[in-house]
Symmetry: C2
Subunit: 61 residues, 2 copies
């Protein structure tokens, strides 16, 4: 489903994808799919982190 979303974004002219995921969510999944961790906000909230990840689109993965 993620790759379908990326294909659709590219078809609309997107060059890169940006997403936010919490530390209790799916960071590892996105890393496996080519997303790079760019920024982490600590204490967001309390002991959790909010991760910002990006991926250049339109290249073979």
């Amino acid at each position: 489903m993620l790759s379908k979303l990326e294909e659709r974004a590219v078809s609309l002219g997107a060059k890169q994808a940006v997403l936010e995921t919490y530390s209790f969510q799916a960071k590892g999944f996105y890393e496996k799919n080519g997303y790079e961790l760019r920024m982490t906000l600590d204490n967001c909230p309390e002991t959790e982190q909010l991760h910002y990840m990006t991926k250049v689109l339109g290249q073979s993965s």
Copy 2:
């Protein structure tokens, strides 16, 4: 106006602020007001950059 917004956020329990500003917008203004540049997305779009900035709230500035 920015400081009023921050005061209001703190009164609601916020611990930090996150904002996005484009390279043709007000990055310098936010830096003067205590925001730290955390991440920059290039080619967003074309020759512009999108900057992500954060500030820890509730401390004397």
